[in-house]
């Protein structure tokens, strides 16, 4: 995938670019808002990672300008600003996701994957499948190997999110933000407890586990081990 990184902190930029390259992406970088805008408008990118505070043109103006020019590249904001209403401002300006600094690189990668996946056009799905696990989005029912699984509404949403991102790492923060719509640190690992309950419902009694823990990162649902 082709990714644009606009970040003025040179060390952070180098780290980001190296990490993304190691993960198999093609990366362009820019050190200020103006160069960033020129690049964003002149080349097709699958995603742009833009720092909130940049010299010459700040991140918010950059993204507003991109959107005004009709450029729909998914944007992930990085911000070292205080968080209370900065997230809202970022998303209002046209950003697609927001990650406060300091961040864990796995978190950044997982979010990028989710953003780029979302962009791929797909027919509106009414049914999700991973291995022998099926989720019917219309009747809100789940089946594994033709056995009905009884899910609470929140468990259904959790499973739906995981299955929409099947094969991708999904972090705890992503789950908290997408499934519960919370943007805070719940201190205790509440997400782990919810996942283990869900796992008990979909994996217990089956030979092949589908819901995997990715050490130091989060969770992933996939059919092959």
């Amino acid at each position: 995938m082709r990714i644009l990184v606009v970040e003025d902190d040179l060390e952070a930029q180098r780290y980001l670019v190296n990490g993304l390259k190691e993960a198999g992406h093609v990366v362009d970088d820019a050190g200020d808002g103006e160069i960033g805008l020129t690049l964003a408008l002149s080349r097709p990118y699958d995603c742009a990672i833009i720092d909130r505070m940049l010299p010459k043109m700040d991140g918010l103006s950059l993204v507003s300008e991109m959107r005004e020019q009709g450029n729909g590249t998914p944007v992930l904001f990085l911000s070292a600003l205080s968080e209370v209403d900065d997230r809202v401002k970022g998303l209002k300006a046209g950003g697609d996701d927001y990650l406060p600094k300091p961040y864990a690189f796995v978190e950044l990668l997982a979010r990028l994957d989710a953003l780029m996946r979302r962009r791929q056009p797909s027919a509106v799905k009414t049914r999700l499948e991973v291995g022998d696990l099926e989720l019917d989005l219309l009747t809100r029912t789940a089946k594994r190997n033709s056995t009905d699984i009884d899910l609470q509404p929140r468990e259904f949403r959790l499973l739906e999110y995981l299955m929409r991102h099947a094969g991708q790492v999904v972090t705890r923060t992503m789950l908290l933000e997408s499934v519960w719509e919370y943007h805070f640190d719940p201190q205790t690992n509440v997400i782990d407890v919810h996942i283990s309950r869900l796992r008990a419902k979909i994996d217990r009694g089956f030979d092949l586990p589908l819901l995997h823990t990715v050490r130091g990162a989060g969770y992933m649902i996939r059919a092959r081990a």
Binding site: A80, V84, D85, Y103, Q187
Partner: protein, 463 residues
């Protein structure tokens, strides 16, 4: 409602007190003047009666009954204010212009007051008189009196109209007072409305200053100067938190990046890799503490007021309880919820959720297996109360205020994970919403209550 408000104003109360004092003063002055005048007039009458009585007594002594009778007949026929009556020991009238002994209406020392009938052409007229009677040698009785009907009439009129006059004065005073108060109330209302707006987060509002240049304008100007100052301070606060956040987060970000990079290069399962992992965890703990401190600072400075929206408190409570219920179940705790739905209030949903999450998290952490954590949202007469009570060890009364302070944790070992800022954040979020935060004994256990003033909450209309 408006009239009631008017009655409660300080201006109206001052007018009322002044009015009462004024009415009492007026009544006193008028009564004193009246009493003095009456006394002077009576004294004049009494003097004449005294002189006449002396004169008539002397006449009797010198000229005997016939002489006295002649004088009385002559004086009676003059038709003046003088009234006379001479009777013998049987009570038979000998001379005078009265028909007989009158009935006494009032005594005043030696003197008496009585009514008599005067023929005025064809009409009979009842009139008031004041006089003195005394016995003469030989069994005769003499009454010397004067007509005081004009004075009596005036007195009567006076005592009849005085209450009405005072009543009218009080009424006019009340109307005047209400008008003055309404004027003052209108000026103060403007100031109050602006203040409420500002407290609600609209810091750019200012109190309007009129051209009158009176004390209210002086007050408005001073308030505005104060508001300018507060706005500058808030802006400064925001800039400071932003730059502190930026200046600390960027190096923390680089630190974490380097550690992650080192971790990727190190052999998995090696001693070195384990050390780096611990360093990453420590960094994350620093970041968590830093974020919590920053959030508290922002909540306390009211920076987050601008991000407030109409929030369904019941939904917030339900959401957080649902998030934590599996955690409670893992620990075999009962997490019960008793929330009234449809309570809306102007608030920051994310901070409210975080505050409640901190309280529930604490309750679960400190309640032993098998206990109960009860979350309730209820309305009282003045407040909306959000409470989290548990059946854990509780906190001794003397330590309750202290745990809300930053970084205080009661167990000395500090083994339980957490930044020690959880309750401070709850307190800051409560303050941000004009609510109070209080810890009390749940007997056994701890009860934490956030009390929102009812004015902030908006109740849905009953369907």
């Amino acid at each position: 409602m408006r009239a009631l408000k008017l009655l409660r104003t300080q201006a109206f109360r001052i007018v009322l007190v002044y009015l009462v004092l004024f009415a009492i003063s007026v009544a006193t002055v008028v009564a004193f003047t009246y009493w003095n005048t009456k006394r002077a007039l009576d004294a004049q009458t009494d003097q004449i009666i005294e002189a006449e009585s002396t004169g008539l007594s002397e006449q009797y002594q010198r000229q005997g009954l016939q002489g006295l009778t002649d004088v009385i007949v002559s004086r009676s026929s003059r038709g003046g204010p003088g009234l006379y009556l001479l009777t013998d020991h049987m009570g038979q009238v000998i001379a005078g212009n009265l028909d007989g002994w009158p009935k006494v209406k009032a005594h005043d020392g030696d003197l008496v007051e009585f009514n008599y009938v005067r023929r005025n052409g064809e009409q009979n007229e009842q009139r008031r008189a004041r006089g003195r009677s005394f016995a003469l040698a030989g069994g005769f009785d003499l009454l010397v009196a004067r007509d005081v009907h004009e004075r009596y009439e005036t007195e009567h009129l006076f005592s009849r109209t005085l209450p009405w006059s005072i009543g009218l004065m009080v009424l006019l005073g009340l109307v005047g007072g209400a008008l003055v108060s309404r004027n003052i109330l209108a000026r103060l209302d403007t100031i109050n409305r602006t203040s409420r707006d500002i407290v609600a987060g609209n810091l750019s509002r200012r109190v309007p200053v009129t051209k009158a240049g009176d004390e209210f304008d002086e007050l408005a100007k001073n308030l505005n100067r104060m508001l300018d100052r507060i706005e500058r301070l808030m802006k400064g606060m925001r800039e400071v938190t932003d730059s502190v956040a930026h200046d600390l987060r960027s190096p923390l970000n680089r630190l974490r990046n380097r550690l992650e990079g080192a971790l990727n290069r190190a052999d998995r399962e090696s001693e070195q890799s384990h050390s780096i992992e611990l360093a990453v965890e420590e960094t994350d703990a620093i970041i968590a503490t830093f974020n919590a401190l920053l959030l508290i600072a922002e909540a306390e400075a009211g920076v987050a007021r601008e991000a407030m929206t109409l929030t369904d408190l019941g939904a917030v409570v339900e959401g957080v309880v649902e998030l934590y219920s599996p955690v409670a179940e893992e620990k075999s705790l009962v997490l019960s919820l008793d929330a009234k739905t449809g309570i809306l209030l102007q608030g920051n949903q994310n901070l409210l959720s975080q505050a409640l999450a901190n309280l529930i998290d604490n309750a679960i952490k400190y309640t032993p297996v098998g206990g109960t954590v009860r979350v309730s949202l209820e309305e009282t007469a003045d407040n909306v109360e959000l409470s989290v009570s548990d059946t854990g060890a509780g906190i001794p009364a003397e330590a309750r205020a202290r745990v809300i302070d930053r970084f205080v944790r009661l167990e000395p070992s500090r083994n339980t994970p957490g930044t020690g800022l959880g309750l401070s954040l709850v307190a800051a979020v409560a303050r941000l919403h004009d609510a109070s935060f209080e810890l009390s004994d749940n007997g056994p256990g701890l009860k934490a209550v956030i009390r929102f003033p009812r004015g902030r909450a908006r109740m849905p209309s009953v369907k």
